[in-house]
Symmetry: C2
C-alpha cells in the first residue's frame, strides 16, 4: 500500500532575499497607484513598519526609481513627511506592434505616460520577416532617440504580433496574415535591449487589465484586426495556455459543417466574423483600413453592411456562448477593430448570449482603448517587469 | 495629464508570520511526497538551513502531524538522522458525494490513504435536499466512527454535488438532475465539522491533479454522470470562474440550431452526448447504472449502442475543439462515466480534434480513477487544506 503522490506546492524557497524583492516591488506599485505618498502612508498601505519602508524607499531613490517631491501638506498634523513619487526619468518600456498594414512603436515611462511614439502605414501581408523587422528597427531607433533626449533609458522592447507565439520564446510559430512561420523575431533585431514577443490579443487584454478604469480581474477579451483573436484574464493573470496558443476564438466551430477554413477545420468563427467574410457579405473589396469603411457605411445605414455585421454578431454570440460556459468570465470585452464596430455587432451578439443563457455577470463591454490596446499593453509589460523586480537587471 | 492606474499586486503583506506558515506547509508537503526523510534531507529539498527546518519539524511533531520513525539507514555515512514521516493518525479529510443514484462518504488520512468508506445506492432524482442530506449524515457518522476508532480526527467535510455551486459558498445554485435550486447544503448538516461544497467535476479534476501518476499541470477534465461536466486545471490550479460556474461544457453549442435544451439554448453538447441522449439513440430505457449496460452492449458489438457512442464522440470532439482552441490545455482527460465508455467514444472524438487541428500536446487521456474521482478529490481537498496551513484551525 503506497500512499498516493502529494504534489509539492510550486514556488521557489522563501528566503529573506525573495521577501525583500517582493516588498521593493510592493512599494513601487503602491507609490505608482496611490502616490504621491509619504513614507508613513506607504508603510500603512503595505502593512510594514515605517522603518522597514524607509530602507526600501532609500534603495529605490538611489536607483532612480522613486523621487522625493519635498515636504507634503504643510497644513497637516505632525511633522510633514516628504512626498514620494515614481520617477519620470530612469527606465522606460518600449512597445512595438507589427500589424498587417502598419508598424508602430512607443515609449512609456515608469509613471505610465507615453513619452514618444511613431507609426508608419505599410502593407506587411506576405512580406518576409527581415525587411519588416528592419523597418520596425528604424522606428524603434527614432522613438529611443526621443526618449533618451527626455532622460529616459529603454529597459526592454516588447513586440505585439498577429500570430501564435510559442510560450516563453520570441518565436512566431505562425502568423497566417503575414505568412510568417517559425520566425524568431529577436534574432532579426539589433539586440541592444531585451526583447519579448507576444500575440497582439494578449497584449490588448493586458492593456485592458492594467489601464482601463474599473476593468474586472476576470474577463474574456475579443479583438480583431484581420483575424479574430481572444485572450483570457483570470484573477488578474493572462491565461497563456500550455504552448502559448490559448485564445484562438477564431477557430472555434460555429457551424461544424460550415465552410472550410484554412486552419483545416470547417465552420470556424473566422468564416463568419473575420474581416474577409464580413467584407464579402457587405460587398466591399479588401484593402487598407476597411474597418473605418465598414463603420462609416453602417453609420450611413447601408443595408448590406448592417446585415453583414448583424450576422457576424450572431456568429460571435454562438462562439462566445461556448467560451462563457467554459470559463465563466465576469465580462466579455470587445477590443481592437471590434470596438469600432460594436454598435452594429452588439445587438445580435447579445441576443445569442441571452437566449442561450450564457450572459456573463457584467455583460459585454466595449473597450475604450480601441486599436491602441496591443501597443500600450506591450510597452506597459516592460514597465511592469521593472515594477515587479525593481532592482533586477532590466531596471538598473 | 493623470498617469494611468497601476493596479497593485494582489496578496497579503509579506510578514515573518506568513513566511513561517508557508515554510511549515512546504515541510509537510515535502515529507508527504518524498518521505520518510531526515531533517537534513528536508532542509536540502526546500532550500532552508537545517536549523530552521528543525524548528519547523519540532512544531509539526508536537502538533501530531509528523512522527519520528527512529534512526534511518544505519549503514550510511555520518550521524544517522531520525527519519520523519507524515502521521497516520491526527487529522483526516472526510469526502462525500451526492450522486443522482447514490450517496458515498470516505475518510482519508494525512498520508493520503482511505481509512474508512461507505456507499449507498439510492435514487435522489427529484428528492428534496433535507432527506437526502439526512441520509448522507448517517453515512458520515458511520465513517467518522470508524475513523475515530482508528485514532483519526475529522478536520472537515467536503461534498461533491452534480450541480453549480456559488463560488466561496456552500450553496447549490442549481442541480437540474436532483431538481435542487438555491440550496444551502451546510445549513442542512449537523455542523460539527467545517463543510465545503463543490461541483463534482471540479473535485474529479482535482483528484486527477493530485492523485494520478504523471498527470499534467494543465488539462481539461471532462466527466459525466447524467449530465456532462468539465473542469479546467491551469498551472496546477482549478479555474473556478467568476461565479464558480466554469466548466459547463454540457451547454457549449455543438449545432447552433439543434434540438432545444432545458437550459434555454439549442444544440448544446448534452443534447448529443448526455446520458439521456445516448440511451435514446441506443434504444435503451433510462434507469440505474446505465453506463455499465452501455459498456456491456458496446463490448458485445451491439450496432445501435456503438453508433450512439460514436456520434456522442463526434459531438464531444466538436465541443472540445472550441475548448482546446480557447485554453490550449496540455491534455484532455476523460473521467467519471466517460472513462468506462472511452474505447467507443475515443475514435470519433479524436477524429474531430485532428481534422479541426485542435489536438492538445499530450492528446486525450482516459482517467485511471474512474467514478471514484469526485469522492477522492473531496476528501483530499480537506487533507490539502491541512497541508496548506498545518497549524491552522482545521489541523490542530
Amino acid at each position: 500500500m503506497t500512499a498516493p503522490l502529494h504534489r509539492p506546492r510550486p514556488g521557489t524557497p522563501d528566503t529573506q532575499q525573495a521577501m525583500r524583492r517582493r516588498n521593493l516591488s510592493r512599494t513601487m506599485y503602491t507609490v505608482a497607484a496611490e502616490g504621491p505618498l509619504s513614507r508613513a502612508a506607504v508603510a500603512q498601505h503595505i502593512g510594514l513598519t515605517r522603518a522597514a519602508v524607509s530602507t526600501l524607499v532609500d534603495e529605490l531613490i538611489r536607483a532612480g526609481l522613486l523621487e522625493e517631491l519635498g515636504p507634503q501638506r504643510p497644513g497637516g498634523v505632525g511633522r510633514p513627511g516628504s512626498a514620494l513619487a515614481v520617477s519620470g526619468q530612469g527606465p522606460a518600456g518600449l512597445g512595438a506592434e507589427v500589424g498587417v498594414d502598419h508598424l508602430a512603436v512607443c515609449a512609456v515611462d515608469m509613471r505610465g505616460e507615453v513619452r514618444a511614439r511613431a507609426r508608419r502605414r505599410v502593407s506587411n501581408r506576405g512580406r518576409a520577416p527581415k525587411p519588416v523587422l528592419a523597418e520596425l528597427t528604424e522606428l524603434v531607433r527614432e522613438v529611443t532617440g526621443e526618449a533618451q533626449a527626455a532622460g529616459l533609458r529603454p529597459a526592454g522592447l516588447a513586440i505585439a504580433v498577429p500570430g501564435l507565439v510559442s510560450r516563453g520564446t520570441t518565436t512566431v510559430v505562425r502568423a497566417p496574415n503575414l505568412d510568417w512561420h517559425d520566425t524568431d523575431v529577436a534574432s532579426l533585431l539589433p539586440g541592444d535591449v531585451p526583447v519579448t514577443v507576444e500575440n497582439e490579443a494578449n497584449f490588448g487584454a493586458l492593456a485592458e487589465l492594467w489601464l482601463a478604469e474599473d476593468s474586472p480581474a476576470d474577463f474574456l477579451h475579443v479583438s480583431a484586426e484581420i483575424g479574430i483573436g481572444a485572450a483570457l484574464v483570470v484573477d488578474g493573470q493572462l491565461l497563456r495556455g500550455t504552448r502559448g496558443f490559448a485564445g484562438e476564438l477564431g477557430h472555434v466551430p460555429v457551424r461544424p459543417e460550415g465552410p472550410a477554413c484554412p486552419c483545416g477545420g470547417r465552420g470556424c468563427l473566422e468564416q463568419y466574423a473575420g474581416e474577409e467574410a464580413v467584407l464579402r457579405a457587405a460587398g466591399i473589396e479588401p484593402g487598407p483600413d476597411r474597418v473605418s469603411l465598414l463603420a462609416e457605411r453602417a453609420g450611413d445605414g447601408d443595408t448590406a453592411t448592417r446585415r453583414a455585421l448583424r450576422s457576424a454578431g450572431t456568429a460571435l454570440g454562438i462562439a462566445l456562448t461556448g467560451a462563457v460556459n467554459l470559463v465563466d468570465p465576469r465580462a466579455v470585452v470587445l477590443g481592437g477593430a471590434l470596438s469600432h464596430l460594436a454598435p452594429w455587432l452588439l445587438p445580435s451578439l447579445e441576443r445569442e448570449l441571452t437566449r442561450r443563457t450564457a450572459s456573463p455577470e457584467d455583460g459585454v463591454i466595449t473597450s475604450g482603448l480601441g486599436s491602441d490596446g496591443p501597443l500600450l499593453g506591450a510597452a506597459h509589460s516592460v514597465v511592469r517587469a521593472v515594477l515587479d523586480d525593481p532592482m533586477g537587471a532590466a531596471a538598473v
